[in-house]
Symmetry: C2
DNA sequence: CTCCTTTGTTTCATAATACGAAACTAAATT
DNA sequence: AATTTAGTTTCGTATTATGAAACAAAGGAG
């Protein structure tokens, strides 16, 4: 039993907020039933969210819906993640060169978290992924790419603490197969996800060589198998490795060199925040 | 006096979360002081956020920091906003044609909320804006573009309920000047923001003609004055109006036509969510 | 090295707060 | 007109969040 929430309402507040985010909109009773809350409690929680500006009640339908306030907070958080700003131009170039959607992730425990995504517009069929959502390391291209850079004990730890599930017929569920696969990745320099996580989707992924610390980020190209035969894969592998080199060079330069640029941007941002604050205070 | 929050801790929970989002990371005492909370209360609130996965305590520094969970929620919310998906390709094209950053907003009361942004990469100097953040209608290009489409009584209401501030020497602070300006916009078909909101920044903006309802969305091109002399402005005006027409046509088509496409995508998304749920339940 | 300051964590009695049953209103539905 | 359902308000009560105080642990100063 994992000890309970030190603040009971907290779970209810965020539960309702998440529910609204998923549902798009909901009536009081829907919320009440879905989260198993007393009608009155649901009502109070919703009003609290409204009071704080995280939800609103649609004037015509009377239904409750989320506002964009969480979106604002989310972007304040993302704004601080410098690596995204640094790497994005390269990922964009990669997307343009290949015409496929490119993802960028950061390691967090036994998962990878999507922190950026450059979508190809040309293709009708879009990959379904979301910034901020998670994917296990053991069964994803990006995950394996990062794991390949780690010490053996860390790999063991990841494997042991992951709930190994056969998500598709191709998912690797054997520890030794996994280790052999990582060995393979080390040789090649890039990782593959051959429908191991989602049927019909192939990925080619590769980790970043960062100046400090080991394997915290990776990027990938994902596409339906129909566009990812072995020939195409070889083609993409070349692009991926080239971009990896470019990013590596850039990151090395950033550490030694013009950190001032980053600081300047931070300053501009601070100035902007300041003006916004003034505006609010003036109410 | 605006009645108080029906759930006291709620304000504290979200207050702390927002603080962490802005600060990047913070110690217990920083939080305690900044939000005027008892040390113990701050501690409890932080632990509750950690318990729910919205914050974590850095293993080495011991400092508290936000996780990407809000980011995930934010993107679940944004994923439901169909208009963004529909319009983005056009905005991207506009960005590529002009080389300038393009913004897309939705009206919310007396403000506009940024709901999309296509950044130009080529230019070193980036505009500072954030998806989910707000800007008053009365002093922004996008705001005026939408206001120009409204009935007189609604314009009055917006003006009366806005806190009119002289943000820069160019800000319009007189009701009649404002109305004359809107008249001008109606004639031209697009709006200008000539350093009215932020010194040194000019915008050209224009609202969307949507099949149902009036003036809920607008887009704009923003750039430093140095890149936005009157000649350039005329050039951009042509592009902006052209894109507006393209979007209008597309929106009209979407209503009558292939709504199925949208439904299909929604279906794919639902499938994906389902798989994720299974994964979590399996724990 | 010791003392002192600062920060983070835990405990606990108490006051305040969130809780939910019930009553009530207003729409929909039959 | 009668019945059901959703949403809102009230209020006594039990639970829960609260904060003072004690404690632990990690720097900093002398």
């Amino acid at each position: 039993m994992e000890q309970k929430n030190p603040i009971q309402v907290a779970g209810r507040l965020f539960g309702v907020l998440e529910f609204l985010a998923d549902a798009g909109s909901a009536g009081l009773m829907e919320v009440s039933v879905a989260l198993d809350l007393n009608k009155t409690t649901a009502h109070r929680v919703l009003n609290s969210l409204i009071y704080m500006g995280y939800a609103r009640q649609n004037a015509v339908s009377g239904r409750y819906e989320p506002t964009f306030k969480v979106v604002d907070i989310a972007n304040r958080i993302m704004g601080r993640v410098d690596i995204v700003q640094t790497v994005r131009p390269y990922l964009r170039k990669l997307m343009e060169a290949t015409g496929e959607t490119v993802h960028f992730v950061e390691r967090d425990g036994n998962d990878a978290v999507y922190i950026d995504k450059v979508e190809s517009m040309s293709n009708g069929i879009q990959m379904v992924s979301r910034i901020g959502s998670r994917i296990p390391l053991y069964c994803s291209g990006v995950g394996k790419a990062m794991a390949a850079e780690m010490d053996d004990w860390e790999i063991e730890e990841i494997w042991n603490n992951s709930k190994i599930l056969r998500l598709t017929p191709h998912t690797i569920t054997d520890r030794n197969d996994f280790k052999r696969e990582l060995e393979e990745i080390r040789k090649r320099g890039y990782a593959l996800d051959d429908e191991e996580n989602e049927s019909g989707v192939r990925c080619i992924a590769c980790s970043l060589r960062e100046p400090l610390g080991s394997a915290r980020h990776a990027f990938s190209i994902s596409a339906p198998v129909s566009r990812m035969d072995n020939g195409r894969l070889r083609e993409l592998a070349a692009s991926v490795l080239k971009v990896r080199e470019e990013i590596t060079r850039k990151l090395r330069a950033s550490v030694a060199g013009p950190e001032t640029v980053r600081k300047e941007m931070r300053y501009m941002h601070e100035q902007h925040e300041h003006r916004e604050k003034c505006r609010l205070d003036a109410r």
